[in-house]
């Protein structure tokens, strides 16, 4: 009998949460948005989403094999990275660029940096921004990303109207943005679909309200102050998807409540500044990645006050 008895530190019972539960729930939460994008973009969306997920899984498997780490395919995190990257890309982007983006995201940003949990940047967003930068360096993606990309299947992200000052009549209305419209990237097609998924994640306890609320409130208030249409700023583009699904990424966002609020405000300010004074597309991605870079600092500066303590703990490394 005694041979069977195992000895570990307590606790001897544990909750049911696993990494894969959280990641699986993120994938589930993306279903409404994926459904709307499939409705609008059909085969384009289907190809990009499947290629992204397939590449992500393969990439993670190969990288972990090479680096002699245990396989972690079962934790759904590669699938989530693949889905998120496909969702921030335009539907007509040829699939080999999707593959390149996923390879950068999974192989470089995630696995080479040590795997899930150790990565500093959000893999999907890093992959996206890499594609944007590469496209500007080599000019190979004109017509797919960036300004003025209008073609038969899709229209440009409506955000270009904000900076470009196009007449009101041409841009999609609030209700279209909120419910569904065929513009921009796969994941920009419906605010309500994002919110349904976000509500599910909050209900399941995987994300908390502070970061998305801080980002959206900041964007709204700051654009109002700067005389821009605040409602349009929060409804258009990838702000909703970014705020609820990417800025809340467990690994790359700060842990402390106050730090999370500051992180959200920082991202919100960056979104407005970048959108209005630099590039209208990709502003959310840039802002969140810059926010990611501040996460370790925020985690150090804001250590919460201990139970019964008068002053918060100070941490110097």
């Amino acid at each position: 009998m005694a041979e069977k008895l195992s000895v570990t530190v307590p606790p001897h019972i544990k909750g049911e949460d696993q990494i894969k539960t959280g990641m699986r729930d993120v994938a589930i939460a993306l279903i409404p948005l994926i459904a709307v994008s499939l409705y609008f973009f059909r085969l384009n969306a289907l190809v990009n989403l499947s290629v992204a997920v397939g590449t992500a899984i393969l990439c993670e498997y190969v990288m972990r094999k090479i680096m002699k780490r245990k396989p972690t395919i079962g934790d759904f995190s590669a699938i989530v990275t693949g889905l998120l990257l496909a969702l921030v890309l335009p539907p007509t982007l040829p699939f080999w660029w999707v593959i390149l983006g996923v390879v950068i995201a999974v192989a470089l940003v995630k696995e080479l940096m040590g795997g899930l949990g150790v990565n500093l940047f959000n893999p999907a967003l890093f992959g996206f921004v890499s594609l944007v930068i590469l496209s500007q360096v080599f000019g190979f993606m004109n017509g797919y990303l960036g300004l003025g990309s209008i073609n038969g299947v899709t229209s440009a992200t409506p955000l270009t109207f904000i900076k470009g000052g196009v007449l009101n009549g041409l841009r999609p209305g609030y209700w279209n943005l909120f419910l569904a419209h065929a513009g921009g990237a796969l994941g920009e097609v419906s605010v309500i679909a994002v919110l349904i998924g976000a509500a599910y994640l909050i209900y399941r306890g995987h994300i908390r309200w502070r970061i998305p609320t801080a980002i959206i409130a900041t964007v709204f208030i700051l654009s109002a102050i700067l005389g821009k249409n605040p409602l349009y700023m929060i409804l258009a583009g990838g702000l909703m998807l970014g705020s609820f699904f990417m800025a809340t990424d467990w690994v790359t966002s700060p842990d402390n409540n106050i730090a999370q609020l500051i992180y959200g405000v920082l991202i919100g300010v960056l979104v407005v500044v970048i959108r209005l004074y630099a590039a209208p597309t990709g502003a959310v991605a840039y802002s969140i990645l810059i926010g990611n870079a501040f996460t370790p600092l925020l985690n150090r500066v804001f250590v919460r006050k201990r139970f019964g303590a008068v002053a918060p703990a100070k941490v110097e490394e």
Binding site: L5, V7, H12
Partner: protein, 441 residues
């Protein structure tokens, strides 16, 4: 109804129904008892008997002059067979008195005295002589707790009837079966420290105990029953004080800092017994339970009884028993050697099967922040683990390692299955060793 509580914590499955309605039973004597000479937090005891000596029930067999200490007594009549290091629940070897049990047992402590005339000092003396320690599991000497620093006025004594650890029900049974003695013990504690108010804090999953205790204290104007939310670790000393009084004990300080003394249900009952009959702490009530326990229940066991004897005498365990825990599932100690003895602090023998026992491989932290949300001390458990893993003990401490009382909430909720408690213990040990080394220089 909203019950009082603290911030943070978890709601594990409690599984108390296994044993909650089972009345306390006696267990037959084993052939031999092994009584560790030190069963408290503080200075170790030296034996006061020799090999070959005849000892009687309640006879002192180990003591020391140190203030922070509690003597130990023989739980049986018999002959001292050996005095040697034996393994205890924590895995450590502790000098122990091994006693061969005599078939003829003496039966002292039958006469009940009136305790109403005892002074504070006399009550402290009773606690000290009885070897009374915190029977909830902390095993801090009761007489020391009852001697607060002179500049601190204790106004409230709280009896901890939360029993927030899942599965355990012995305190629940004590409230149901020994309620009057419990209140007697509370009154003694209040007198000893000069407190005006006595509070019995009970979690809302024991409403029968709440009703019974309320009726017992209905004629005591200075004693109140407070119902608390069912949440783990409601019965942790600092959490309980916060929930009941709204006062928060500062980091590194004792409850006397905020004018409170907390004792567990079992401790209060044992104090009353010691004062009224002279009986020292030689036996205790514990819960034998769990999915692999064939006959879950509550038993009164002589200190020094091997847990294997308790298990055998009380129904045995299922062939699928994969973990034997002394204490509760959240903070108890896993056992390999079932010959280890029941000690004063043993609140339960928990038998877990392969289905219920925690499993899963440790992964890198994904910063999901669940541990931070549930930590009742407001620490940063993921960072403690992260830095302890790298051997950066000071940093692990800056995120709270030494303020951690190891409730295990963080590990319970962790999706990456990180054993935070292991890292916390390692950090504490390393820092203590470093401090000791610095002292030598």
């Amino acid at each position: 109804m909203d019950y009082k509580t603290f911030r943070g914590g978890i709601h594990p499955p409690y599984n108390k129904e296994l044993a909650a309605t089972k009345a306390i039973e006696d267990i037959s004597l084993p052939a031999e008892v092994v009584i560790p000479l030190s069963q408290h937090i503080g200075a170790p005891n030296a034996p006061t008997v020799k090999v070959g000596d005849r000892v009687e029930v309640g006879q002192k067999i180990g003591s020391t002059d140190a203030f922070v200490s509690a003597p130990v007594h023989s739980s049986v009549s018999g002959t001292v067979k050996a005095i040697e290091p034996r393994p205890v629940f924590s895995g450590k070897m502790v000098e122990s008195v091994v006693i061969t049990v005599d078939p003829n047992q003496s039966t002292p402590f039958g006469t009940v005295k009136d305790v109403s005339a005892l002074t504070g000092d006399q009550i402290r003396e009773v606690a000290k002589e009885a070897g009374l320690v915190g029977l909830g599991g902390a095993t801090f000497p009761a007489s020391v707790k009852m001697t607060p620093p002179k500049e601190r006025k204790i106004d409230t004594v709280i009896i901890n009837g939360c029993e927030c650890e899942p599965y355990l029900t012995c305190d629940h049974r004590l409230m149901i079966e020994r309620g009057k003695e419990l209140v007697g013990g509370l009154k003694l504690l209040m007198r000893a420290v000069g407190a005006e108010k006595g509070i019995i804090g009970i979690e809302a999953n024991k409403m029968d105990a709440v009703d019974l205790m309320s009726s017992i204290v209905s004629k005591e104007p200075d004693v109140e029953v407070v119902v608390l939310e069912v949440k783990y670790p409601e019965g942790a000393e600092k959490m309980l004080i916060d929930a009941v009084t709204g006062r928060r004990v500062p980091p590194g300080k004792l409850p006397s800092e905020v004018g409170v003394l907390v004792q567990n249900v079992g401790t209060a009952v044992a104090l009353y017994e010691a004062a009224s009959t002279g009986k020292p702490v030689i036996e205790r009530v514990l819960t034998i339970t769990g999915p692999a326990a064939l006959k879950p229940g509550n038993v009164k066991v002589k200190v020094g009884t091997p847990i294997s004897h308790v298990i055998e005498q009380h129904g045995g365990m299922s062939p699928d028993t994969v973990r034997v825990v002394m204490g509760g599932p959240m903070t108890g100690f896993a056992q390999k050697d079932l010959n280890v003895p029941v000690v004063k602090g043993t609140s339960g023998i928990l038998l877990l099967d392969s289905e219920t026992v925690a499993s899963g491989e440790e992964r890198d932290c994904v910063s999901c922040d669940r541990c931070i949300e549930v930590c009742p001390m407001f620490l940063v458990p993921n960072f403690i683990a992260k830095y302890a893993r790298r051997g950066k003990w000071e940093l692990a401490d800056k995120y709270g390692a030494r303020d951690c009382f190891e409730c295990g909430c963080c590990s319970y909720v962790c999706p990456a299955k990180i054993p935070h408690i292991a890292y916390v213990r390692k950090t504490k040990a390393e820092l203590a060793a470093a401090a000791a080394a610095a002292e030598k220089k």
